[in-house]
Symmetry: C2
Subunit: 276 residues, 2 copies
Amino acid sequence: MQARPSLPIGLFDSGMGGLTVLKALATTLPSEHLLYLGDTARLPYGTKGRETIIRYTLAAAGKLVARGVKMLVIACNTATANALPVVQAKFAPLPVLGVVEPGARAAVQASVSGRIVVIGTEATIRSDVYAKAIHALRPDAITSAKACTLFVSMAEEGMMQGRLVEDICRYYLDDIFGAEARTPKPDTMILGCTHFPLLKTALERVVGGDVVVVDPAATVATGVREELIALDLINTEKGEGTSHFMTTDNQERFARTGSLFLGRTLTVEEIELVDL
Amino acid sequence: MQARPSLPIGLFDSGMGGLTVLKALATTLPSEHLLYLGDTARLPYGTKGRETIIRYTLAAAGKLVARGVKMLVIACNTATANALPVVQAKFAPLPVLGVVEPGARAAVQASVSGRIVVIGTEATIRSDVYAKAIHALRPDAITSAKACTLFVSMAEEGMMQGRLVEDICRYYLDDIFGAEARTPKPDTMILGCTHFPLLKTALERVVGGDVVVVDPAATVATGVREELIALDLINTEKGEGTSHFMTTDNQERFARTGSLFLGRTLTVEEIELVDL
């Protein structure tokens, strides 16, 4: 079936972190319709095993495809890291984009020294996909990685700034950026989880002003635009694009926490409850 | 079907927190066989909606019942708070015990002033079941409650003690126990989540030595023993009781984190992967 340019772009995330990607897409492509699915009933994916992540991601992608989308964006690092090729194979020729490769590309462009650290969930770090994507672009890069499990809950709680938040950041990052770090410090840090941009201010204070903190969301949006142009799928209808939200659980929580991620008030009425 | 005394007691939790209850049961009833199911694939339940929690708890309870158990213990406050009556109705006449009522009873016994605070997950606090259970036992009790969402991740990460952990405890508890608390301080605090006993030392330092911190796990074990005696279901076989573990995801993580909760090394070989 030939995709129509007026169809929405489908975005999938395990929860609400992917809303940072939706926000970037809405800014970069204001005439596109966006259909977001957050699998909040089974969140977080970041502590789950690979097979489980693949099963859940396929189910969620299938839901979006059934609604009719012209492109899929896996707006979740854990799902991208573990399931992107499987989703691409299953739904071909539908274009399916992840967040890892764009994030790696932005980091390689930003880094002078080639020392790049990735922070993310346990499952993303375990998959090692960022290191692979970085080395494909710059073989002499020196990568390191750190799972920062608590950051997901903190972002969803709205614990984003202040002394305590910075102390928790230091708890995770001191062996990389602290006074007693044993290796030269990276000059670039990738926020390898879509929740982490909410902690960006605190993280920047902790790692210091000489470290570039890369949020892949912006690069993903650029990548989506390029792909839409290449496939001749840019929406040319008149008027503003719309956003529609689906969640698998607890619309109240989605509205409350989603507002933090979007930077605007999201109401329960805007959110559809779906089952997978 | 008449239950046989040699059958195991089934324990269910959304993850690994219920292992604190299993540990207490194994100590109190050393000759009983214990069959534990942790639904780690869909953990945490504490941030989910009521209907979802009921659906998941019924599926997990059904799995344990199918294996053959003489009693079910819902070793999870969130599942007890939201789904206990539904599980009891569905699997009657099988005895099904939760963790809330025993915890409330222990707190009422410990409290002099009648001022009792419950800390737990968002879903447990929202359900208000602890306040109801406490008031049923002591109508003039003055209850308060606080959702401490980050504590679950902290316990699972092994972040249990130290200055940073105490600072996070203060972040949640200062308006109840801090210098600027506006109401008289409670003299009793219920750990209304089976993860929280791992933070007990830090919590006791933060709330002060004059506050009794109640861990329902011990009281649950006493309640289970009384119920088994009443139903003539105590296992009278010779030899030590055994423990068998089932998880819905990521045996490695279950072994690693489960060891923290059990206080002994749990190996991957002891853990069976099951689907719900």
